[in-house]
């Protein structure tokens, strides 16, 4: 659905040139929720804006729904943008217009008739749960409600793609969850392709199918969220995961220094997470184990468990083989 090929982008900042992106390749499949995570200044905002050409790349290719956007003329690009919705961190609603008028704006831009606009706006507001607020002004709404208006507005022209620019960064945790749930619902029900940028791993974990980690204008790691989240390879990715789990790596290795035996990290995925596997393996191989840390949670809809255990005695090799046979990923940490 979206294909960026070797895109470069730099800006003039006074006499200096600042490079935002240095050769990024990105492929987002139709119907998936794709997350781009990075610290501020990593270039994620620029990357998102290349997809609807709010920023033009210095070089590279930008293709959306099979259309080469860089080859389009002004009216052609405007038409293409009408098929790409976008929501913003600070909502960017018109303060002088009512909720209904805000949602109607993209339809007006697209030249739809008033007779067509009214029922469409009503349906959109019902979808985001704001039917009652149609005649209020944005200033009378809460942050979460404003983002709902933003989402309704972005969906008005029935786009195939929705770009989310830090859509939940200005919201409290509870509101963030409800907005993410709404995005997931829209993705499921409308088959909409969603690209979101964020600096919070938690956002990625909740809604994304795949994730790319951006650092210094380059994608340093990408893949299915569970893979990247549970087995981060790059230092930047590890930092994001640890931040999300509130883990302090240095503190941990200090804590484990006096623990005897080997230390393993076990990762369970799917329904296996809830099986009494560890006890069974211990009985059959005579292994002694102690749990050092652990968490059981979900990545999007899939449950997972990750345990760090210390082991001593018994047949470690047989235990490892048994665990792996049952689909548990075993990583030796020490």
């Amino acid at each position: 659905m979206i294909e960026l090929e070797q895109v470069h982008k730099s800006y003039a900042l006074g006499p200096r040139r600042v490079t935002a992106l240095r050769g990024v390749d990105l492929r987002v499949e139709a119907g998936e929720v794709f997350g781009i995570i990075g610290a501020s200044g990593a270039g994620k905002s620029t990357l998102l804006r290349l997809i609807n050409l709010l920023e033009r790349p210095d070089s590279g290719r930008v293709q959306v729904a099979g259309q080469d956007l860089l080859a389009l003329d002004e009216p052609g690009l405007r038409g293409a943008r009408q098929r790409i919705g976008m929501i913003f961190q600070h909502f960017n609603l018109l303060a002088s217009k009512t909720v209904a008028e805000n949602v109607a704006w993209p339809l007006k831009i697209a030249g739809r008739s008033a007779a067509e606009i009214a029922p469409r706006v009503a349906a959109l507001l019902a979808r985001v749960g704001l039917a009652e607020q149609a005649h209020k002004y944005p200033a009378q709404l809460s942050g979460g409600q404003k983002q709902r208006v933003g989402i309704a507005r972005a969906l008005a022209t029935e786009p195939r793609v929705l770009l989310c620019d830090e859509a939940t960064s200005a919201l409290d945790p509870e509101t963030t969850r409800s907005i993410l749930a709404l995005l997931a619902e829209i993705n499921r029900e409308l088959g909409l392709t969603i690209v979101l940028i964020t600096h919070e791993m938690d956002v990625v974990r909740r809604v994304c199918d795949r994730v790319a980690v951006l650092d210094g204008g380059l994608i340093v790691e990408q893949g299915p969220v569970a893979e990247v989240f549970l087995h981060p390879q790059h230092a930047t990715t590890r930092r994001f995961v640890q931040e999300a789990e509130q883990v302090d790596e240095g503190q941990l290795s200090d804590d484990y220094a006096h623990v005897p035996g080997r230390i393993l990290q076990l990762t369970f995925r799917g329904e296996r997470t809830y099986e009494p596997l560890l006890g069974e393996v211990a009985r059959r191989t005579g292994l002694d184990f102690g749990i050092l840390s652990g968490r059981i949670d979900r990545i999007k809809d899939e449950p997972y468990g990750q345990l760090v255990i210390s082991v001593s005695g018994g047949d470690l090799e047989a235990a490892t083989a048994l665990l792996q046979e049952r689909g548990v990923r075993v990583e030796v940490q020490r």
Binding site: N52, L94, K108
Partner: protein
Amino acid sequence: MDALLNVIDWAEIGLASWDTLLMLGGSLLFTVLLGLPLGVALFLFDRGQLLAAPRLYALLSLVVNVLRSLPFVILLIVLIPFTLLVAGTSLGVAGAIPPLVVGATPFFARLVEGALRGVDRGIVEAGLAMGASTRQIVWQALLPEARPAILSAATVTAITLVGYTAMSGVIGGGGLGDLAIRFGYQRFQTEVMVVTVALLLLLVQLLQMLGDWLVRRYTRR
């Protein structure tokens, strides 16, 4: 007191008040009609804006600055040939309006430019992301969003114009200012001076109240 007030020719005052209102209304109308597009152009041509054209911006900006730096009394005189051309006379209400418009338009345009700059950039970005044209962004987003600030700018401009109309008395523009100069100053009729000043004060006060009310009415914050 009665004796003092009897000195005043109320019919003359009424006529002058009417002239002032005509000059104010006429010049405000044309100032807004010309200044609004000029202000929008200044905003759009500036660096980093939708129609960024630095040279054109520099040129417009220079013209605006030149007109704004001329004292209005000088402008009144310099513009006499132009006024004759446009209005057919350089006297009376009709003769006063062209210099008033030329004097106030750059002022108002700058205020409009500032009002548009006050609109959150995110609004423009949202419009672009929806595929809006520059024209659509200006008419459907920027001007409605800036409306309270533009109304406030129009109020300030109207009050400035009241001051200018008084000066146009110098070249026979008529109105309350003219009356104040001819009777109050040149003929030492202090009573006329006091009454005209009071009327001008009242006018300014009413304009400010009307402006404030309009700004409140269109503010949705």
